[in-house]
């Protein structure tokens, strides 16, 4: 029988408190931030910090009072008195909030501020509160064990809480460092940056009061930045897709949305989003509402240190500028960023125990890579490549646009006249071709060659007319003008217009379109693409002679701000030799087939931010997908 091993156990020296309390927090500001976060986690709606500066008559103190859930004795023992235990780490907290802390050491931060702590706490249900008096200096004894230090507690009626009220007050005395006006101002600045101005946690107010000073006292406010020369918003979606919107003031872009990009490394950052503001000149104070420059990182509305502070330069913007000796386009002091992550979605983005950095994980590396390459470099590129246009250049560009418009108007008038002139002889040719056919029928001459020739004339005229229509639409600028339309209705209407051809070829048409689908797109462009794609499918099916039931399925759906039109046929598929050049001009030489139509559709769709793609299988069929980009919509 094997010997039962003796066991050794770890124990903590009382000095551990000094390590996780006094020595862990770089500054007094950060220690106070930790205590404020604890208040938030307890469900408090308001936190009041009172700093009494030391005077000859009385020593200084710091008082942090909240209206959170408070603690009874068992909770105090379980929550407050056990180092490293955090109820918030279990994911539950007051007020249905996402907890900000999970390390279970925040309360020890008070040791950084002063050597004495009085905790007064009461739950709503109890009549009396509990008062605990802690002398942190007792923990200096290295030879003692952590659990050998005991602190006295009393049950008392708490003056600051009425019956039925709950809350906690921490009073810190024997202040370690002197508080001066400048340190209070620094704390005010730290607290104002604690909350994300764009996603402030609801029902949470912080007041900072300094006894005897009205100028230093008052609520902590964090106002969003409203306008900058560049306003870049982004969001990481499924599969590492990054959606971005770029607005430029004062001449706001008509369509700020940009083509999404995909960064596979960002897949683990799904849900991350943010805003970057950039000023071409150093902004005035009222433009930035007291925000410091930098790209700040927030988790569930609370700032993560030190991201955003000038010393951190976590995205290497300052370093880049220094290396380029002033030739970089992003000047750190004009850049203001607010990046939001969530504890629930981004579990891999964890703080170090000091809360002053993120642990080096794959997620943290992906975050830095995304912001550096996908956002900051992109913004720099936009600034460099002429979105920042000098005023004289803007004026020149406007004149050029006006001239272009005038030219188009002239061209439109001309093309409209030409269209009319061309249609006269076309009308005569078409009608006479019909007349010849009628006369021959009357004369009982039924010749297949003549019949085919008549049909050919008719089809050719139809095609010429389509081109005339297209040229009129192009020169009339109708394809450029987006309007609010019901895409489902357009698809139905265009398919109805082709009903006759569909029936003639015994094709079974299936429409899979929603009842309605609002879109802000170019009406003639949608019609042209629908018509072209369905006609192509019909033409391909007309060539199928093996007796299979010819089928076309037309589908319409919406994905984000994109409208997807799918046309699927069960024809013979696109020959392999044609596939690579299907969007080139004259890809096929068949009448009415994929000649110029698909080429023009692709060209025009691309100029509107969309595209056509296809999948095909030999002898099984093809599916074409046209993507239309909606001018409106939001990436939120």
């Amino acid at each position: 029988m094997a010997d039962q091993p003796d066991k050794l156990t770890f124990e903590a020296s009382a000095y551990l408190q000094t390590l996780i309390g006094r020595d862990l927090f770089r500054s007094q500001d950060l220690a106070i931030v930790e205590l404020v976060k604890n208040s938030y986690d307890s469900g408090a709606r308001s936190v009041r910090i009172v700093i009494s500066l030391p005077s000859e008559k009385r020593p200084g103190s710091i008082e942090i009072t909240d209206d959170g859930s408070g603690m009874d004795l068992s909770k105090l023992q379980q929550l407050f008195m056990v180092a490293g235990y955090s109820e918030t780490g279990q994911g539950s907290t007051g007020g249905n909030r996402i907890p900000t802390g999970e390390k279970g050491i925040g309360r020890f931060a008070s040791d950084r501020l002063g050597s004495r702590l009085t905790v007064e706490t009461k739950t709503a249900g109890s009549r009396e509160g509990i008062v605990v008096e802690i002398d942190w200096t007792l923990f200096n004894a290295r030879k003692k064990r952590f659990n050998e230090i005991s602190v006295p507690f009393y049950r008392r009626t708490l003056q600051f809480l009425n019956k039925g009220q709950s809350g906690t007050r921490l009073t810190i005395t024997q202040i370690r460092e002197e508080w001066a006006s400048s340190t209070v101002e620094s704390l005010r600045s730290t607290l104002s940056q604690l909350l994300n101005p764009f996603e402030k946690p609801s029902n949470f107010i912080i007041n900072l009061d300094v006894t005897g000073s009205t100028t230093l006292s008052g609520p902590i406010v964090s106002t969003p930045i409203e306008s900058a020369d560049f306003d870049l918003r982004f969001k990481v979606k499924r599969g590492g897709t990054i959606e971005r919107e770029l607005r430029k003031t004062p001449s706001k872009s008509i369509n700020p949305r940009l083509e999404p990009t995909v960064d596979p490394a960002a897949t683990i950052l799904k849900g991350l989003h943010g805003r970057i503001y950039y000023f071409l000149k150093r902004p005035a104070k009222d433009q930035v509402h007291g925000h410091s420059p930098g790209v700040f990182l927030y988790r569930d509305g609370f700032r993560i240190e030190p991201f955003g502070s000038s010393a951190a330069d976590w995205l290497g913007i300052g370093e880049k500028r220094a290396k380029r000796a002033g030739h970089a386009h992003i000047v750190p002091s004009r850049l203001f960023g607010f990046v939001s992550i969530s504890r629930r979605k981004h579990g891999g983005l964890k703080d170090t125990t000091s809360r002053e950095a993120l642990l080096d994980t794959a997620e943290a590396r992906a975050l830095v890579h995304l912001l550096k390459k996908g956002i900051i470099d992109f913004l720099e590129e936009q600034i460099r490549t002429g979105i920042a246009m000098p005023r004289w250049e803007e004026s020149r560009a406007r004149k050029a646009t006006e001239l272009q418009k005038a030219r188009f108007q002239a061209l439109n008038v001309m093309s409209s006249g030409v269209a009319h002139e061309l249609r006269q002889p076309l009308q005569a040719i078409r009608m006479e071709a019909g007349n010849i056919a009628t006369r021959l029928r009357q004369l009982a001459i039924d010749d297949p060659i003549i019949r085919a020739a008549a049909r050919c004339i008719d089809t050719s005229i139809e095609r010429i007319d389509q081109r005339i229509q297209l040229i009129s639409a192009l020169t009339g600028g109708k394809l450029d003008a987006n309007e609010r339309v019901d895409m489902a209705l357009i698809v139905q209407e265009e398919c109805t217009l082709l009903e006759r051809r569909i029936q003639e070829n015994n094709i079974d048409l299936t429409l899979e379109v929603p009842k309605d689908q609002d879109a802000n797109v170019s009406d003639p462009l949608v019609r042209m693409v629908v018509k072209n794609m369905v006609e192509n499918a019909v033409n391909a099916l007309a060539e199928v002679k093996d007796g299979r039931q010819r089928r076309v399925a037309v589908g319409l759906s919406k994905k984000g701000f994109k409208h997807l039109l799918k046309v699927k046929d069960n024809a013979m598929g696109i020959p392999a030799e044609i596939q690579p050049r299907i969007f080139a001009r004259f890809a096929t030489d068949t009448t009415g087939g994929m000649g110029v139509g698909l080429y023009v559709c692709q060209l025009l769709l691309k100029s509107h931010g969309g595209e056509i793609s296809f999948q095909t299988k030999d002898r099984v069929g093809s599916e074409f997908t046209a993507t239309f980009v909606d001018e409106e919509g939001s990436i939120d």
Partner: protein, 164 residues
């Protein structure tokens, strides 16, 4: 009885082709290359159907139709044009033109012989109204605003006369 059709178009080659198409179908056709000729023919003959080009020098097809309807309120009408926006469905053309006058049918150029014949046959097969009110309404269709203005003008004139 053979249906009588008047075709008006300033393009003689188009006019000729339309005339041939309808003659081959057995209709009796008259042609005119301008509005004056057309109105003169309308004074001398009665027609079952008029086919009018939309764009013509001097007077367009819809204005001509208004005048023809004064003489022949029951006449059926087709307006054809190469200028009408082909993006607009034929049945919706009158709306896009402002609805101040309405033809019975609209066709885009270049229209096929089959489509023209179908439109003609369809209109001619329609029963004519025998209610005088319907006929009267059709005769003034598109001119309601003129009648309204005329009523107002005559009322004002009467008031002025009284004041004098």
């Amino acid at each position: 009885m053979t249906s009588r059709i008047l075709i008006v178009d300033d393009e003689t080659i188009v006019l000729g082709s339309f005339e041939r198409a309808l003659t081959l179908e057995g209709y009796a056709t008259w042609v005119a290359t301008n509005s004056q000729e057309a109105l003169k023919l309308c004074q001398e003959n009665s027609f079952d159907l008029v086919i009018l080009d939309f764009i013509m020098p001097g007077m367009d097809g819809l204005e001509l139709l208004t005048r023809i309807r004064k003489q022949q309120p029951l006449v059926r009408s087709i307006v054809i044009s190469g200028k009408i926006d082909t993006g607009v469905e034929e049945s919706q053309v009158s709306k896009s033109l402002g609805q101040w006058v309405e033809a019975d049918a609209y066709l885009h150029k270049p229209v096929s012989a089959t489509k023209l014949k179908e439109a003609v046959a369809s209109l001619l097969s329609e029963q004519l109204p025998d209610d005088w009110q319907v006929i009267a309404r059709k005769a003034v269709k598109g001119q309601e605003f003129k009648i309204k203005n005329a009523k107002a003008a005559s009322k004002n004139l009467k008031i002025l006369k009284r004041k004098k």
